[in-house]
């Protein structure tokens, strides 16, 4: 899709503007193709927050939570900029799927299963698991997906360090604080997560390697370029603030992105709505202003 629009491959955008410029090119040269998909709205749930909004927010100078002070950040310039993307894509420049589709509960199926494999979508801002859809055992087998789909890291807003952004979730093995035999638990975890076992697990469960020595192992690389590309994102990935308030704030963000998409709110109004909700949810003493 990108080659048809005249974009040099492999493509690695350096700023948000690069991404939007290519989306505009696709729009201009390939009618009938949706230039870019970014998840938003309540229908896509946490996907809207994590694969959509936060992929932009964490590429600005703002985040949701400041670990150094233990406080939630108010919506600042970065928050508004991230909301502005939704306004641009869905409301001003029509670069995304139709708002009806994007806000429906089936948006991801449309994007991943109906549009992408048949060349009706240019850029999809999405997660490493999408490949699973195209495996022979997946809901939409697509043998050529590894060669047809290029993978680029999401750039930061203006290319500020570290230049790229990614959001991750996952699991870990921990020693319980009330464990009566902490050493044995620790030994177990040491064995379970050693290079050999991690490699076996990551390959068989289609996981992204978080150990460099797993990512560089031949058995891991043999899976194709996608797994290698995703592992290279691990050093700059972020994780979501895992606190009680997060699910509520996430739902609020989903609602606000949806309102930006339909044009009911401006980025400034969306940020104000978030700040009001944030204060009501976590209390003023747990909130701080966003850095500029």
């Amino acid at each position: 899709m990108l080659a048809k629009a005249g974009v040099a491959l492999p493509w690695q955008p350096k700023t948000w503007a690069d991404v939007l410029a290519v989306a505009e090119k696709i729009k201009a040269t390939e009618p009938g193709v949706t230039p870019i998909n970014v998840y938003g709205g309540v229908g896509q749930g946490e996907g809207s927050t994590m694969q959509g909004f936060e992929m932009f927010l964490y590429g600005t100078n703002n985040t949701l939570f400041d670990y150094s002070t233990g406080k939630w950040e108010k919506a600042g310039a970065g928050f508004k900029a991230a909301l502005g993307i939704y306004q641009t894509i869905y409301n001003k420049d029509n670069l995304g799927p139709s708002v009806q589709t994007a806000l429906g509960s089936q948006a991801w199926q449309v994007v991943q299963q109906s549009d992408m494999p048949v060349g009706k979508l240019g850029i999809d801002l999405d997660g490493s698991w999408v490949g699973g859809t195209y495996l022979p055992t997946g809901p939409k087998p697509w043998p050529q997906w590894q060669s047809a789909l290029g993978i680029a890291a999401m750039p930061t807003e203006n290319g500020q360090a570290p230049g790229k952004v990614s959001m991750s979730g996952g699991w870990l093995l921990s020693v319980g604080s009330r464990s009566t035999n902490k050493q044995m638990a620790f030994n177990f975890i040491t064995i379970a997560l050693n290079q050999q076992n991690s490699l076996y697990y990551d390959v068989h469960a289609s996981q992204i390697a978080s150990r460099a020595d797993v990512a560089s192992a031949p058995a891991y690389k043999a899976q194709g370029h996608a797994a290698a590309a995703f592992s290279s994102f691990v050093p700059f990935t972020h994780f979501r603030p895992a606190f009680t308030a997060y699910p509520k704030l996430s739902t609020e963000i989903q609602e606000i992105t949806g309102e930006l998409m339909t044009g009911q709110e401006t980025p400034a109004q969306g940020a104000a709505a978030y700040n009001k909700y944030l204060l009501a949810t976590v209390g003023a003493k747990n909130v701080e202003a966003a850095p500029a």
């Binding site: 709205g41 589709t101 009680t244 739902t251």
Partner: protein
């Protein structure tokens, strides 16, 4: 007797008492409120009426109950019962089979049928594409979609209640009224409806309570969306209590919903004055 009472107490009264109790605490399913719930008095209830999404959900619930149950199911069920009265043709039997089939179908299946009919690319959309009206009806008209789906699903119940009620209306009374020169309309207004008061109250009460608590159908069709455009109170309770883990706020809203159901029942009984007839 004692073991039976014990079991009843444990599995019936127990959960009710527990949910009333936690509605007055800050019990949550995760975080501080999960480990050390505190008594917070009426805080959940005062918060509720300052919560624009809750108030919004109540308005939608009222529209849903009035539109789909009180107007839709009730009127349509009554009309069908009236038109079929005293007839037992092949047509009425076939019609009843369809109407009752819609009712006995599991809610999730009914929800999926309507989803397949209304979504973008679904039956209705495919048909209307020929007229240039392509759209996702669940997006453009979410409330109308869930109201119509619920009428379709629930009309059978009202029809059965009214059929039973109508079969109790003495034929000689209708004959006598006709001999006295009553028109069809006044027959309906002055003879049939007054005799059906009990059925009407029973039916309205049952379908109102049923519709107030309706969850599955809406969840399958729109999940409360787009945005919050069809987020009735049960869906909002689900979101708050089980997705955002605020179980005490959820149960507090359940209690309010229960009181609203009781209020509806009182209004019906007052309005229709069953006792006078009885």
């Amino acid at each position: 007797m004692a073991p039976a009472l014990g079991i009843m107490g444990l599995f019936f009264a127990g959960p009710i008492i527990w949910s009333v109790y936690i509605a007055f605490t800050n019990k949550a399913l995760t975080g501080v409120g999960a480990q050390h719930p505190k008594w917070v008095g009426f805080a959940n209830f005062t918060h509720m009426f300052q919560d624009p999404l809750f108030v919004h959900s109540l308005v939608l619930t009222a529209i849903f109950v009035i539109g789909s149950a009180i107007i839709g199911q009730n009127t349509l069920g009554f009309l069908i019962a009236l038109l079929e009265r005293g007839k037992n043709s092949f047509v009425t039997r076939a019609l009843n089979t369809f109407i009752i089939a819609a009712w006995v179908m599991p809610e999730i299946v009914a929800g999926f049928c309507w989803y397949a009919f209304l979504y973008q690319g679904g039956t209705l959309d495919t048909f209307l594409q020929h007229f240039g009206l392509s759209q996702d009806w669940l997006y453009t008209t979410p409330m109308l979609a869930i109201i119509i789906a619920n009428i379709w699903r629930g009309t059978a119940f009202s029809m059965l209640v009214y059929s039973a009620g109508l079969s109790d209306v003495p034929a000689e009374l209708l004959e006598a009224a006709k001999v006295d020169g009553a028109s069809q309309i006044s027959l309906l207004r002055r003879v049939i409806i007054p005799l059906l008061r009990r059925s009407i109250v029973t039916n309205l009460m049952l379908i109102t309570l049923q519709t107030l608590a309706s969850f599955t159908l809406i969840f399958v069709l729109t999940a409360g969306g787009p945005g919050e455009a069809s987020q009735t109170t049960p869906l909002y309770i689900y979101q708050q209590a089980l997705q955002l883990y605020d179980i005490s706020y959820g149960t507090a809203m359940c209690i309010v919903l229960l009181l609203i159901g009781a209020l509806f029942s009182v209004v019906y009984i007052k309005l229709i004055r069953v006792e006078e007839v009885g």
